[in-house]
């Protein structure tokens, strides 16, 4: 038997003119956790999809446990003992957990028998790896962290000895991510080989035994994790030295541009989503909002940009006043110089089916420079798009490509370009770098700081604590719809924020935020 679970030799794959994988060689030792890092579009997911039979490689050979294996489809992969936890879960939402697990691996024609057989087997898996889920719950009623467990159990139930996870922590809270890592370690201890794709270097350092770095479709290096560092990996990923810590001068604040007063929100089912929020953001500063996702940050952002109406309180944002009885429509707010970079770029930021040039004017589509008497001025829109693409280094620099076909980072840059090019007075930014590669993150961070230095008030909601600490001047922490603390970004660290986000910190100086 071979020492290696997986051996890839000279794997190449191209989509049309794009070479997604080029002569990839990779060896993964049995019973280890192996990380694959790289920027978005570096070819990580393609490579793993080849291994799981979703794509077929143009050339190259795959060896599984030392044996040459042809993987034409998922069935072949499953037979070879490979399981995959996809980035976008492959679950049937209105099925129960159990039904999802047995789907395709039923033990017979009649369901009730399969279910009986499966239940005890799954209980064993649960026990040995700490993978607890409610088997009878419907998928759409359980949180994403649980859904991911279902995906994992699905793979193990099919007898996977090699488990591939594609960006598993993107959707998880820090706690859920920790639990996942515990599970993965347990799997490793019992002999499963784990391959994890990520672009979060911290996870690589914490979890893996060895790591491969991909760049532009090639593996640039494979290293022992213990013998490398975040900095080295980052450099390998982008192919140049990057600063992990951004330099920025201290804030020169001006007039108050956002003034939130006793803001509250009760949703349609009567649950208090936001309660008694009070804070200000001045011109020339970046205020970060920290919080475990789902604690009201998204709602706050949506109220400020006019998407959601608030239930009580009063907001003054630039020259606009928002109260429960006096709602202002999002387009009015936008035209008053308040730009909004939404958290979910594919749902709210742009229209995936539209061309880049069309997406580049969304929200400003009524502006006279884009419109003739009866028709839109296509040329003006295209040249506008090309110019902002240049400014923000959006690649490829082609205004006619569908928005959906840009990588995440470039979509985000396009949205930021659209919102920032008018030098807004207030910039509301949600998750500016979610799913964005390191090179683009650096660029986006610089742009946001530039906006601040030009005198904009920036409100930043982000799930990445290091991002909040790097960018913000002040950080407000939310928990359960309330503000539970505020810290100076220069004087805090991830640990303190983490405690505050879970509301387990001690109130400082007798300050009460209730």
């Amino acid at each position: 038997m071979s020492n290696f679970s997986i051996e890839l030799k000279d794997i190449s794959k191209s989509f049309g003119s794009i070479q997604a994988n080029k002569n990839v060689n990779l060896k993964i030792k049995k019973g280890t956790i192996h990380g694959i890092v790289g920027e978005n579009g570096a070819g990580k997911s393609t490579l793993m999809s080849i291994l799981y039979g979703f794509y077929e490689a143009d050339s190259g050979t795959i060896y599984v446990n030392g044996k040459e294996t042809t993987i034409k489809n998922s069935t072949d992969a499953i037979k070879a003992g490979i399981g995959m936890v996809h980035q976008h879960f492959m679950l049937v939402e209105n099925f129960t957990v159990l039904e999802n697990i047995i789907l395709g691996a039923e033990s017979g024609m009649i369901l009730s028998k399969s279910i009986k057989n499966a239940t005890s087997e799954i209980k064993n898996l649960e026990k040995s790896y700490g993978l607890y889920v409610d088997l009878d719950a419907r998928i759409d009623t359980i949180p994403v962290g649980q859904q991911q467990r279902v995906e994992t159990i699905k793979a193990l139930y099919r007898g996977a000895k090699i488990l591939i996870l594609d960006e598993p922590t993107g959707v998880l809270t820090p706690q859920e991510a920790d639990q996942l890592f515990d599970i993965l370690r347990a799997l490793k201890d019992q002999g499963t080989t784990v391959v994890i794709i990520t672009h979060k270097l911290r996870e690589i350092m914490d979890l893996t035994d060895s790591v491969s770095v991909m760049r532009a479709g090639e593996i640039v290096d494979s290293l022992e994790t213990s013998k490398t560092s975040k900095e080295e990996l980052a450099e390998l990923m982008v192919g140049r030295k990057i600063r992990m810590n951004l330099e920025k001068s201290s804030a020169k604040t001006g007039e108050t541009l956002i003034d939130v007063n006793k803001l509250g929100l009760t949703d349609s089912s009567g649950i208090r989503r936001l309660d008694n929020l009070n804070f200000q953001v001045k011109a020339g500063e970046i205020v970060g909002i920290a919080g475990v996702s789902g604690n009201g940050q998204s709602e706050l952002l949506e109220i400020l940009c006019g998407i959601l109406p608030c239930s009580d309180g009063k907001i003054k944002i630039s020259d606009i006043t928002i109260t429960p009885t006096n709602q202002t429509k999002p387009d009015k707010i936008r035209h008053a110089g308040i730009a909004h970079v939404p958290e979910d770029r594919l749902k709210r930021g742009l229209i995936p089916q539209f061309s880049a040039s069309e997406s580049s004017i969304l929200g400003y589509q009524n502006s006279s420079s884009f419109n003739g008497i009866a028709f839109t001025r296509t040329d003006a829109i295209r040249s506008h798009c090309i110019s902002i693409m240049k400014d923000f280094d959006v690649r490829p620099q082609n205004p006619d490509i569908k928005s959906a076909n840009f990588s995440g980072g470039n979509q985000q840059k396009l949205i930021l370009a659209r919102e920032m090019e008018r030098s807004p007075k207030v910039l509301l930014v949600g998750q500016p770098t979610r799913g964005v590669d390191i090179g683009a993150i650096e660029f986006i961070h610089k742009q946001i700081i530039q906006m601040r230095d030009k005198g904009s008030a920036v409100l930043l909601v982000s799930g990445e604590l290091d991002e909040l600490i790097t960018l913000s001047d002040r950080i407000i922490v939310m928990f359960d719809g309330k503000i539970v603390g505020e810290v100076d970004a220069n004087k805090t660290d991830e640990k303190e924020l983490g405690l505050m986000m879970t509301n387990s910190h001690e109130q400082k100086n007798g300050q009460k935020y209730e």
């Binding site: 998922s74 069935t75 049937v92 039904e99 047995i102 789907l103 024609m109 009649i110 009730s112 399969s114």
Partner: protein
């Protein structure tokens, strides 16, 4: 009193007879749409089945061969629909409408070519049709008041295909919810990617689902031409495929509720026949046109307002494309 019971029983018996083709088509629709293939061609398949059954029965004199011909015809049309919309990932509605139009024209043309009767098939004798059958024990209990009458007038005395229609509802339920095939079929209509990554062929599953639909519509078509009627007449399915589609949606893609909504549409149809010329107190005689339109008006009203949120299978109508 006795007169009233008789009246009700005869309307209900008519309801069952009129619902039968709807039930076949609705079950066919459930198989197809639960697997993610929108099937607007139910109408065309019913009509084609009706024509095939009537032609074969007229030619051979055998109702059973007629049924066989209709089933094969339904399956062939399903394969065409599948070839366009599963294999080649074409638009399912366009493919379905195309089938409806082709069938509507082709049945008339073939009918003229084969039987020289302006698109009709010859009138069949009763031994080449499916005739009403008496269930066992009818004579014994028909004299018992009420129960006996219900048994002899409502439950007994239909042709075999009516009973098969009821069996098809149970069959559909069992297959969908109690078998491995059903689990996979429902999954493929919700999230074909999940099925694909579980190592099951999406296309093969969908083909099997629509083939079952073809069989069921074939039987439904047979019922229309050689059980309910005695010959094929141009466009005799008369929108029943569409009504069945509505009933299926009204029944939220579930076999038993869909059967009941078929009953509802059948009942309205039966009522409208009965109500023609009847003078209703205070209102007077309701115009025939209005009564005939009632089922269709109801369709719109029900679908617009009373269904609640009819949640279709998520991948319904979306061809599965694996690679970008």
């Amino acid at each position: 009193m006795e007169f009233a019971l008789n009246d009700i029983l005869s309307i209900l018996a008519a309801t069952i007879r009129l619902s039968t083709p709807l039930i076949f088509a609705a079950m066919a629709g459930i198989f197809s749409e639960r697997s993610g293939v929108v099937d607007i061609s139910l109408e065309g398949k019913l009509l084609a089945g009706a024509f095939a059954a009537a032609s074969m029965a007229a030619y051979t004199g055998s109702a059973w061969l007629g049924l066989g011909a209709a089933i094969i015809t339904g399956m062939i049309l399903s394969l065409i629909h599948g070839f366009a919309s599963i294999t080649h990932k074409g638009d399912q509605v366009v493919s379905g409408v195309a089938i409806n139009i082709i069938v509507s024209g082709l049945t008339v043309v073939l009918g003229m070519a084969w039987f020289h009767r302006s698109g009709q098939t010859p009138t069949l004798t009763s031994d080449s049709r499916f005739m009403p059958i008496q269930l066992p024990g009818v004579d014994a209990i028909s004299n018992i008041p009420f129960i006996g009458e219900i048994y002899s007038k409502l439950i007994s005395g239909h042709n075999l295909l009516v009973y098969i229609a009821f069996a098809s509802v149970a069959f559909t339920y069992w297959v969908l919810f109690k078998t491995r095939f059903g689990l996979r079929l429902r999954a493929v209509g919700e999230n074909p990617k999940a099925v694909d990554t579980a190592g099951i062929s999406v296309s093969f599953l969908r083909y099997r689902a629509i083939l079952i639909g073809g069989i069921l519509t074939g039987i439904g078509g047979t019922y229309i031409s050689i059980a309910q009627n005695a010959s094929f007449i141009k466009d005799m399915s008369a929108g029943q495929g569409y009504i069945a589609l509505a009933a299926m949606i009204f029944g939220k893609w579930k076999p038993v509720p869909a059967m009941f909504s078929c009953f509802l549409f059948g009942f309205l149809e039966a009522l409208s026949m009965r109500m023609q010329g009847v003078v209703i107190p205070y209102i007077g005689e309701v115009p025939v046109q209005f009564i005939q339109a009632a089922p269709y008006i109801l369709t719109v009203v029900l679908l617009a307002g009373f269904v609640g949120r009819a949640i279709a299978p998520k991948a319904d109508g979306i061809p599965y494309v694996k690679e970008r």
